[in-house]
């Protein structure tokens, strides 16, 4: 920045600015490398580029979106990822399988119980290891609790990006209750590191169960209260209904999953489509909506919270006795092979593809995060909307940048 050099601004050719082009400019100082980039950075009359992020209140982390806008209408956009790329897959290859659990933890940091399950389940599949039934039930319990906490935040964030201050705080109350409960079980509030290859780290304890009982007593009532605050709000409904509509064909072609997919009417839920753990034994329905817009996604999240509470109820009633950990060697040499596992995280199909060469380290551990693909679909929805709506659409698919950028 020290050189005082007058250059023609890249945004506005009639304007001269004093600093040369830097990495912070909306247009990169490099020649376009691909067809798409050349198309995006060619401006028509009256258009301007605006740089949303990487630090922006409603990009949910460190996403950067270059918007090409005409007035307030978004013409095109170019998401730039990688501001949170931490090289998790490479680190996993360099540690052993146990390290991979804690390294995968912060990927989906709102629902860490799901991302830490990935190396665990891959290793179990490669080892052909049977997990004790009590451990499976405890896993399902932890997963569903974590799903509720994540969905509670989703509702708040959607409202926050629409300008409402209060629902996010109510959502955080719910989330903090659950997270403290899980902290009593696992010892950590956010990155639990609770699942182990062959089971879980510890059995249910009294503190956890008493907190769970307290919370279950009025959970449904509070969620319905939350529903009342937003569902009957005229402004909220007017802002979200008919916004960012995804049809089924687009949903299939862009590899969507999770609530975003189910809001279009496709009942694809990994818990039923590719059953894992003890989900085949449990009763629950897969709520779907037909509209595919932001409001449908919002309502779907509320329905899923109710289903999760129902599952937790069943799990608590059917919880068997027994050990919570299978007998596994401490130095785990996983037999060579390839495995692909998939679970239903709050944002969709969370899957992992693991390869082992027979050593104690994963040869390759690929994590597939649903937010990555959901965020990609957002790029297709936004053009044509106003700047204010881009936030609502982005919030309604709820990307987690930790998982997107890995």
């Amino acid at each position: 920045m020290t050189t005082e050099q007058t250059v023609r601004s890249l945004d506005d050719p009639d304007l001269f600015v004093e600093t040369p082009g830097t990495i912070y400019d909306a247009i990169p100082p490099l020649p376009p490398r691909t067809e798409r980039e050349a198309e995006f950075y060619t401006m028509r009359d009256g258009e301007m580029l605006i740089n949303l992020g990487p630090q922006h209140p409603s990009t949910h982390g460190v996403l950067r979106v270059v918007l090409k806008i005409d007035g307030e209408r978004v013409v095109d956009l170019d998401p730039v990822l990688g501001y949170l790329h931490r090289g998790v897959e490479k680190i996993c290859e360099n540690g052993d399988w146990h390290h991979a659990i804690s390294n995968c933890d912060p990927l989906e940091y709102i629902a860490a119980m799901f991302s830490e399950a990935m190396p665990v389940m891959v290793a179990e599949k490669l080892l052909d290891l049977g997990v004790p039934r009590r451990a499976e039930y405890i896993r399902v319990l932890a997963w569903e609790l974590n799903r509720i906490s994540s969905h509670a935040l989703f509702v708040g964030w959607l409202a926050l990006d629409l300008g409402g201050l209060t629902p996010i705080l109510y959502g955080f109350i719910e989330r903090d209750e659950i997270v403290e409960m899980l902290a009593a079980l696992t010892g950590q509030r956010l990155l639990f590191n609770y699942l182990r290859i062959g089971g879980v780290n510890g059995d249910l304890n009294h503190d956890f169960l008493s907190r769970l009982g307290d919370w279950m007593g009025n959970a449904l009532k509070r969620i319905e209260d939350q529903q009342k605050l937003l569902n009957s709000n005229e402004i909220f409904v007017a802002r979200t209904r008919g916004l960012g509509v995804i049809d089924r064909d687009l949903a299939r072609r862009t590899l969507l999953s999770g609530p975003v997919l189910r809001a279009t009417g496709i009942p694809y839920d990994v818990r039923r489509a590719h059953p894992y753990s003890v989900y085949p034994e449990l009763e629950f329905t897969i709520p779907t909506r037909e509209e595919g817009d932001s409001y449908a996604r919002y309502l779907l999240h509320l329905d899923e919270i109710k289903q999760s509470i129902h599952i937790i109820d069943q799990v608590l009633h059917r919880m068997p006795d027994g050990p919570v950990m299978a007998k596994v060697p401490r130095l785990m040499r996983v037999p060579p092979g390839r495995a692909y596992v998939s679970i239903e995280s709050p944002r969709g199909q969370y899957s992992a593809y693991g390869m082992s060469d027979g050593s104690d380290q994963p040869f390759r551990l690929r994590i597939h995060d649903p937010s990555f693909f959901n965020l990609q679909a957002v790029g297709l929805l936004m053009p044509g909307n106003l700047v204010a709506d881009t936030m609502a659409i982005m919030a309604s698919v709820d990307p987690i940048m930790g998982g997107v950028d890995k």
């Binding site: 050189t3 990487p54 630090q55 209140p57 460190v62 090289g87 940091y109 955080f172 990155l191």
Partner: protein, 259 residues
């Protein structure tokens, strides 16, 4: 840079029950612990001297195109350079007139500690706990730390919450430089203080104190919201004790060689 002799020196006190312990037996130095040449070692906080400020480049990768990014010359953190060049090492002790600036600064600092507006910027996981610290259960607003400003021009404290990657380092420094003085930086979480669990990665910065001055470190992965609030209260204490010396901070690794 001038070294103030009046400044209280924090001595590591190795005592037990009033009796000084014998120097601990050092483990035999391994080859990996020896720097290959003297200038390879990091500058450390000696007992009686301050750390030399290290001017660190803002840009953290080398561009392939030599003309890109300002001709390959990384921009520097300018205010620290000014601090180094100019004789501004005011120890606030200049005779009887001492009372005026010190008391004024003290009163202003008392005002500032009750109104610390953080920047609404979260990088990764720790951002969740930062938000949680501001919500109903652990209400940061009680201490006057609430209005999270979205614009860095109006913020006082930069809470770096989460892993800092090399790609994000440039924008983060830019945010820091956009904030008006007096400003403070709180490193929240292991990743920001030292690299944490991603220390070995190819894409992360091992501790933000390599690229910007830090006032308070809050360890934990992630720290609980109470931990963050405690860190912010420590920051309040620090502001009071610094008595207007807020710009005198240094950039550089705070981890000594032996660690």
């Amino acid at each position: 840079m001038e070294v103030n002799d009046d400044r209280p020196v924090i001595q590591p006190s190795v005592t037990s029950g009033g009796q000084p312990l014998e120097p601990r037996h050092e483990p035999p130095a391994m080859a990996a612990d020896q720097p290959s040449s003297p200038q390879d070692g990091l500058s450390t906080t000696r007992d009686d001297s301050l750390v030399e400020p290290i001017i660190v480049a803002n840009s953290t990768w080398t561009p392939a195109d030599p003309t890109a990014y300002n001709g390959g010359q990384p921009p520097q953190i300018t205010h620290l350079r000014e601090l180094e060049l100019g004789d501004k090492s005011d120890n606030a002790r200049w005779g009887a007139l001492d009372i005026i600036p010190t008391k004024a600064d003290y009163v202003l600092d008392l005002i500032r500690i009750n109104s610390l507006w953080p920047l609404l910027s979260g990088l990764a996981c720790c951002a969740m706990e930062m938000m949680s610290a501001a919500t109903s259960r652990n209400d940061m607003d009680r201490f006057g730390m609430f209005p999270f400003r979205a614009s860095p021009r109006q913020a006082d404290v930069l809470i770096v919450a989460g892993t800092l990657t090399t790609k994000m380092a440039g924008p983060l420094i830019r945010l820091w430089e956009q904030m008006p003085e007096p400003k403070w930086c709180v490193a929240m979480g292991d990743c920001t203080t030292s690299g944490g669990r991603y220390k070995r990665s190819y894409a992360t910065v091992e501790g933000i104190d390599r690229i910007m001055p830090v006032d308070v470190y809050v360890p934990g992965c992630p720290p609980r919201p109470e931990g963050l609030i405690y860190g912010m209260m420590k920051l309040q204490q620090l502001i009071k004790e610094r008595r207007g010396h807020w710009p005198e901070r240094h950039v550089g690794p705070t981890v000594p060689v032996g660690v």
